[in-house]
């Protein structure tokens, strides 16, 4: 028998691959000798296994690392790599430019997206105790109402600290809103004010420049401000003990100055006032108001999984007496009806990217966009790398002779691969330099787009620099790898004899082109759909007027002069209607409330609604449509107990005779006093939160709320009207600033995030198409060059210019068509997913995908045909003359 006794060849190859030259042959000999010996005493499979074990045993540094004793100075070789690489780059300026520009654009896009994603992911990680801080999120269900809150009741935090030993500290935050701060004779509005417990600094890492973290928020009428607020009012930061005049009347003593909050924090308050002032925060209720963002700091060794049930037990224990007194039920009865009050603990760093809950301090990020953008960055980078690989392999024919020569002269394969990888590393390094320059140049623009406040200086920080170097190396090696192996595998005999023409057709290259264009089509389709959805949102009939609507703030400061202001406004010719209330469909006041449909106050009959207090002019001013019943009237005294419902709330009450219904509301939790209401009208549903959610039940009650004043202005002499309104304000309250906004602008603000993302996707999609085309252009140029002679002969034989153009474009178009076929289902799936997040969205239409495909085709055709035509119109004499 011949070769029956050879060990597994893959193991042999593996060994030779990793083992150094010094040992490889001799050790392999030893192992084979041992193997032969074993074959005599055991079954072949066993000998094979032993052999493999032997090979594995040699995976050790001493066998892998090159033997240093016959040390060769390899520096010269590497220098040569660089020289050759540099010369090749210079020799083919066109290709080098395409490569470098393509890669640079791709890299800079990646870089920016990377920074964006990194920033999104870095939220709240900088707190020293970040891993131990958790926010208590409540999930409530009673009757048909289910609420997901980011908040808890006023007692939970403090009680948890007392009763659960794993909890080290707790602190609460609540949105205060804004107030006016006096500077000289002026009053300046200061937004982003939060209530905070005195334990704020025990939990969060908010370095104080001045003040004592233990006592800063202990006393009523104190205030902790950030550095920049201090600068704004005092031009210095050592302002401890100074006072600020708030809302023209109160004075607050500054008890602490903190560093400005970093932008990657889930709340962005610039001033904190002590929560001890908030009467509601002292309320002893477990089932009642849930308005406080509550954070627990767990002890070092505590396990969150074990703390959650403890918190829930605690809630149940304390809530039971309250349940008994209000609804007359024990906890078990309450729960057995399918109701619950459940707490969960959200780790601090997760708060920013998890879906928004009710009562979130600041709108959070969207993990979806983090994924989308990462995917786009990956796509763009891949497309750029593919360009590089494609061009390099396509040009293989040109390099084939060089490779053949080198091999004949004794170059090893590894050296050739090294040569090509050096070349791609050099290209990549150049591209990276360009990319960084580009990124720095468009940084301000990018910040504006994303609404982030990133500093270009971040590019110079060590971790980023390290990441950039690694990225350069990875991309360089990755894009040089395939061409390196492809080119170095040429057989010198064939190449030098001239039978190898190379680079005509390659399945791999086709696959890459298909992938590139599939990605482009996907991005075009996604862009179109995102754009259309945003258009839809902006122009959707939301059920109220939002054009020409002026919102005047600070009307709560007018007190008894409010009515005078309202009447004098109505005398201005350009003002059509005026209503005074803080409850507006765009982001203003919100008020969650419960009504019962029966006197029994059964939880089954409870309905959770928005309860908005409005005056008789509201519906008219907003242009809301009454479907049934009548508006509130000043002349009907009983209207203080009347309700106007929206359609969603009406649906809740039943389908018929809504106007006969009598909803009840609990007015006083201690005495269980109920107030009976009468439904007098139904308005058409209007959107008052994001279009991502369906319209929730809402009721209007008649009364006065002075949050702000909304005036509907006539179309003529807009500026004049505005000036007249301001004059009126100045005569009535000269010491308060006239602050206003327009409802359509506020509305747009609601969708700022979507709009930004839409724009970003558009830009990056265009970029990816641009890079794909760059690659296609390079390929087409090369193909045309390759086939110069063929084209010449065809022309001599009478082929027409269009015929030749078609011939050259055909191959590419086929690839693009395949790409389209692959991309459309994927695009369909992803865009559908995105649209499903909106309660109101456009339908997915086939023509969008058709347009995307045709666009990709046209772009590809234009790119290719430029080269094809150039080749086709050449005079055949030029191409055929020299042989």
């Amino acid at each position: 028998m011949k070769r029956t006794s050879t060990p597994p060849s893959w193991a042999v190859r593996l060994f030779r691959w990793f083992c150094n030259h010094h040992l490889s042959e001799a050790v392999l000999g030893d192992m084979i000798e041992l193997y032969e010996r074993r074959r005599k005493s055991m079954p072949p499979w066993k000998a094979d296994v032993f052999f493999i074990v032997n090979v594995i045993q040699f995976i050790q540094p001493f066998a892998i690392r090159g033997n240093s004793s016959p040390s060769i100075n390899t520096f010269g070789m590497y220098k040569n790599y660089f020289t050759i690489a540099w010369r090749t780059l210079l020799k083919n300026k066109g290709y080098s430019a395409i490569n470098i520009i393509g890669l640079a654009v791709g890299l800079s896009a990646c870089l920016l997206i990377g920074l964006y994603v990194q920033h999104e992911l870095s939220y709240d990680r900088f707190h020293k105790k970040a891993s131990r801080i958790f926010r208590v999120d409540m999930e409530l269900k009673f009757g048909d109402n289910r609420l997901e809150l980011a908040t808890a009741n006023p007692l939970l935090g403090e009680t948890a600290k007392d009763e659960i030993q794993e909890v080290e500290q707790s602190t609460r935050l609540r949105w205060y809103g804004s107030f006016l701060v006096k500077k000289g004779n002026e009053n300046i509005r200061e937004g982003n004010v939060g209530w905070a417990d005195s334990t704020l600094f025990d939990v969060f890492t908010l370095p104080l420049i001045a003040g004592n973290p233990k006592t800063a928020l202990n006393e009523p009428n104190s205030i902790v401000i950030t550095e920049s607020v201090a600068r704004k009012y005092f031009d210095r930061t050592d302002v401890l003990g100074e006072t600020l005049t708030i809302n023209n009347t109160e004075s607050r003593k500054i008890t602490g100055v903190i560093e400005d909050l970093p932008s990657n924090m889930h709340f962005q308050f610039t001033s904190f006032v002590p929560l001890v002032e908030d009467e509601n925060a002292l309320e002893a209720t477990w089932a009642g108001s849930q308005n406080w963002n509550t954070y627990l700091l767990l002890k070092e060794n505590a396990n969150v999984g074990e703390v959650v049930p403890l918190v829930n037990n605690m809630i149940g224990r304390h809530m039971e007496p309250e349940l008994k007194s209000i609804v007359g039920k024990t906890l078990d009865e309450f729960v057995s009806e399918g109701n619950y009050f459940k707490a969960s603990l959200t780790p601090l760093p997760d708060i920013h990217l998890q879906p928004d809950r009710i009562g979130e301090l600041y709108g959070s990020g969207n993990i979806q966009y983090v994924y989308i953008f990462s995917a786009i960055a990956g796509c763009i980078l891949l497309i750029a790398i593919i360009n590089f690989m494609n061009l390099a392999t396509a040009r293989s024919a040109k390099r084939a002779r060089e490779v053949g020569m080198r091999k004949v002269m004794g170059s090893m394969k590894s050296a050739l691969v090294g040569q090509f990888i050096t070349e791609s590393l050099l290209t990549c390094a150049a591209a990276m330099l360009f990319a960084i320059m580009m990124a720095v140049a468009i940084f301000p623009f990018f910040n504006e787009l994303t609404g982030k406040d990133l500093d270009a200086g971040i590019l110079a920080t060590p971790p980023i620099v390290a990441a950039l170097i690694v990225l350069t190396l990875v991309v360089g090696v990755l894009s040089g790898f395939y061409p390196g192996f492809y080119l170095s595998a040429f057989q010198p005999v064939k190449v030098l004899k001239g039978t190898y023409s190379g680079g005509k057709r390659s399945v791999f290259r086709s696959v890459l082109v298909v992938f590139q264009f599939a990605a482009s089509v996907l991005l075009i389709a996604a862009t179109l759909i995102v754009y259309r959805q945003l258009q839809y949102i902006q122009h959707k009939d939301v059920g109220y007027h939002r054009e020409q609507m002026l919102i005047v703030n600070n009307t709560d400061k007018l007190k008894n002069r409010r009515d005078a202001f309202k009447t004098s406004l109505l005398q201005i010719p350009g003002v059509q209607r005026v209503t005074v209330t803080g409850f507006l469909p765009v982001n203003y006041y919100r008020n969650n409330n419960s009504f019962f449909t029966s006197r029994a106050m059964d939880i089954k009959d409870m309905i959770s609604v928005q309860k908005w207090t409005i005056d008789e002019d509201y519906l008219e001013t907003m242009g809301m449509e009454l479907l049934e019943g009548r508006n509130f009237s000043k002349d009907i005294a009983s209207d203080t107990a009347s309700l106007i419902l929206n359609e969603s709330a009406a649906k809740f009450l039943g389908s018929r005779d809504i106007l006969e219904k009598r909803p009840y509301r609990l007015e006083d939790e201690n005495t269980n006093r109920l107030k009976e209401f009468r439904v007098i009208g139904i308005v058409k549903d209007f959107n008052f939160s994001s279009l991502r959610q369906p319209v929730k039940p809402l009721v209007f009650t008649f009364g006065s709320d002075d949050g702000c004043l909304t005036a509907r202005l006539g179309p003529s002499d807009f500026m004049g009207t505005l000036a007249a309104i301001e004059d009126t304000w100045k005569t009535i309250v000269p010491d308060l600033p006239f602050e206003y906004s327009f409802m359509d602008a506020d509305f747009d603000q609601l969708y700022k995030g979507e709009k930004q993302s839409g724009k970003l996707i558009t830009y990056f999609a265009s970029l990816s198409i641009l890079i794909s085309c760059l690659g296609l252009f390079g390929l087409a140029t090369f193909m045309a060059e390759q086939r110069t002679k063929e084209i010449g002969i065809r022309k001599v034989m009478g082929a027409s210019v269009p015929g030749i153009t078609a011939l050259l474009s055909k191959d590419f178009l086929k690839l693009v068509l395949i790409a389209v076929a692959l991309a459309i289902p994927a695009a369909w799936y992803f865009t559908d997913q995105w649209l499903q997040a909106f309660a109101y969205h456009i339908p997915l239409e086939w023509w969008v995908f058709a347009v995307a495909s045709v666009m990709a085709l046209i772009i590809a055709l234009m790119t290719v045909s430029v080269q094809a035509i150039k080749a086709a119109v050449q005079n055949p004499v030029n191409s055929l003359r020299s042989e």
Binding site: T6, H22, L23, E25, A26, V27, L28, G29, D30, M31, I32, E33, L34, E36, N54, Q57, F58, Q60, F62, A63, N67, S69
Partner: protein
């Protein structure tokens, strides 16, 4: 440098190279060591020791002596260098020296 420190296994390998004289290559050394010590010896550890000893300058090697049995591959044949011989001698001397210093009573006293 770690100096002239010689591990126990390294010393055994050096001695085996001396014993086998003309045919001291990896597998033969494994066999010799297994025979002498009655331990199970891994081929990779022998080669590891050989590489290290060569680096320290106690051994020198050349290729040669291929046979059909090994798929026609060369052996790496090892030979003691001057300093290899010296380090073995030193090691032996050290032991002898220390043996002498152990009081006789230690050996005899162990009976009681």
């Amino acid at each position: 440098m770690k100096g002239t420190y010689l591990g126990e296994f390294e010393e055994l390998v050096l001695l085996s190279v001396g014993i086998l004289f003309d045919d001291a290559y990896g597998l033969a050394l494994v066999d010799e060591l297994e025979r002498q010590t009655a331990r199970n010896i891994m081929i990779s550890s022998v080669h590891k020791a050989l590489v290290r000893l060569e680096e320290k300058g106690y051994l020198k090697s050349r290729l040669g002596g291929s046979t059909k049995l090994r798929g026609g591959r060369d052996k790496r044949l090892y030979q003691l260098t001057q300093s290899g011989k010296k380090v073995l001698a030193e090691s032996r001397e050290l032991r002898n020296d220390m043996w002498k210093q152990v009081p006789k009573i230690v050996w005899e006293g162990s009976r009681s």
